[in-house]
């Protein structure tokens, strides 16, 4: 129990602190790397919850692809060090106020939910003794959540098609030079 607790606290801190560091980092590459750290911790949090599949997917998709692309973008547009926080507060005070309001609501919801927590267990809709986590996920995806699953497929298709559409235009206009 104590070991579990320690692991849990470590992982949570490992998600929260890099999250904050990512926001306040002045160097954009460092910020992205902090997000990477966050995602790895998140992945292992999922691992401790008994969901190896999600862990692996999290690492492959987020750590392996998304963050790499972010790094690429940061390299390409060559961001310099910035005083992000100050600029945010100074340039858009209204935005800052709204941000604070939503943080307030978020904290409020947290207090509500922590008050609730003794009454609720993790809502696993399936029984892990009857099959592995992977098996259940597959089963749910292809029966219960079939429609949503297919929709996600369509969504990805549309994104790809749209990107192709724009790039084709760009090529036609600029004579094929990208």
């Amino acid at each position: 129990m104590i070991l579990e607790m320690i692991v849990f606290i470590y992982l949570s801190l490992g998600m929260i602190i890099p999250g904050i560091l990512a926001i306040i980092s002045k160097n954009p590459v460092h910020a992205v790397l902090w997000v990477l750290v966050l995602i790895l911790h998140q992945a292992f949090m999922l691992f401790t919850l008994g969901s190896e599949f999600l862990t692996a997917v999290q690492i492959i998709v987020y750590a392996g692809a998304v963050i790499v692309l972010f790094l690429f973008v940061v390299y390409m547009i060559n961001l310099k060090r910035e005083e992000i926080w100050k600029v945010f507060v100074k340039k858009s005070p209204l935005g800052f106020v709204i941000f604070l309001i939503f943080i307030f609501f978020f904290l409020k919801s947290l207090t509500f939910l922590t008050a609730l927590s003794p009454h609720f267990k993790a809502h696993l809709p399936y029984d892990l003794t009857q099959g592995t986590n992977l098996w259940w996920i597959a089963r749910y995806l292809f029966t219960h959540f079939l429609f949503q699953f297919e929709l996600v497929g369509v969504l990805l298709l549309v994104v790809v098609l749209g990107a192709v559409f724009l790039l084709r235009k760009l090529k036609e206009v600029e004579g094929g030079s990208l």
Binding site: L3, N27, V29, H30, L33, L36, E52, F53, T55, A56, V57, I59, I60, A63, G64, A65, V68, L71, F72, Y75, T132, N133, L134
Partner: protein
């Protein structure tokens, strides 16, 4: 926390260290084998001064690298510069923990072991990108960009190839995959999945940045690619990571396509014999390719990945699914 847990942890660490040592040994002599084989193929002798037939050459190399000065160039991003080779090595080497060497010998028998291997190989891109960026050098940066683009593209083809294996076996667990091969009529998936095997091997070469896909470290264009600014022990770590990558990829291929540790007959007293045999054959293939083929052009490389391997992989996956459905 009882005694049992502690003893379990101690045993685990001990076995892991042992595995690592053996693997290091393999890696060290892989370099030697490579130099020797290529020399022979090019009608040369290869290293033959240190020890009998140059057998101590790898050890000499290691000692030399350890003694060299660790230069940190001006203007680098120090923490990342230090971190990058470690990331590379760790990601490359820890894949070994998931490979079943024997039906009772696998360090971490995960449900989704194959996915974890893929995850680790995708993480290895970070070593490349970070080293390239942190070095604050044009050559390194270009190399890093190329390497990561290549890694990401070929990763997809590789996953597709592996997925058809998963489809055949019905599991992501590597141990299960080996067992499923044993029970299948072909005994090894290389026969029904010859296309997948081909795709996998090509992408594996690209993933490990080996000739003919060694664009990121092409000496003639980029000096030495992303680790051009590294020297001494850190350079050694990159070097190690590359050869570790080769070993892990070959081991994965053995597990998924060649029936793993299973052989036509058991040889008592030599539990890992068949596994190692298949591994050596594949490693030889690797070196053979390096000796034979010239380097690709960069756009050809990307074209091959996106226009040939991925569609091929998808088709293969599709037909495998049909096969699975109707048989």
């Amino acid at each position: 926390m009882g005694v049992a847990l502690w003893s379990e942890i101690v045993i685990l660490v001990a076995v892991a260290l042992l595995l690592l040592l053996v693997a290091l040994f393999h890696v060290a002599y892989l370099t030697y084998a490579e130099r020797k084989i290529i020399a022979r193929m090019q009608q040369r002798l290869g290293p033959n001064r240190v020890g009998p037939r140059g057998l101590l050459q790898p050890i000499a190399d290691v000692l030399k690298l350890l003694h060299k000065e660790d230069i940190i160039p001006y203007g680098v991003d120090k923490p990342i510069f230090h971190l990058a080779p470690l990331v590379s090595l760790v990601c490359a080497a820890s894949g070994l923990a998931l490979i079943p060497l024997w039906d009772t010998f696998v360090l971490s028998n995960l449900n989704v072991g194959l996915l974890f291997l893929l995850a680790l190989s995708s993480l290895s891109a970070y070593g490349v990108i970070l080293s390239g960026w942190a070095s604050n050098s044009r050559y390194a940066f270009l190399g890093a960009l190329r390497a990561s683009a290549q890694l990401i593209s070929y990763e997809i083809a590789m996953s597709l190839a592996l997925l058809s294996v998963v489809l055949m076996a019905g599991s992501f667990n590597l141990q299960d995959i080996v067992k499923a091969q044993m029970e299948s009529p072909f005994k090894a998936y290389i026969i029904p999945q010859i296309i997948a095997f081909f795709i996998f091997m090509v992408s594996a070469i690209a993933e490990t940045n080996r000739v003919p896909f060694d664009l990121p470290e092409a000496e003639t264009e980029l000096v030495a690619g992303y680790f051009v600014e590294y020297s001494g022990i850190r350079f050694a770590l990159f070097y190690l990571a590359e050869y570790f990558g080769m070993v892990v990829m070959c081991a994965l291929a053995v597990t998924c396509f060649l029936g793993g540790y299973i052989g036509p007959f058991n040889i008592p007293g030599l539990p890992f014999f068949w596994f190692l045999l298949k591994l050596y054959v594949l490693l030889f293939f690797y070196i053979w390719v390096r000796a034979t083929l010239p380097r690709y052009r960069y756009d050809q490389l990307m074209g091959l990945g996106w226009k040939v391997l991925i569609p091929l992989g998808l088709l293969n996956l599709f037909f495998t699914a049909l096969l699975k459905l109707w048989l």
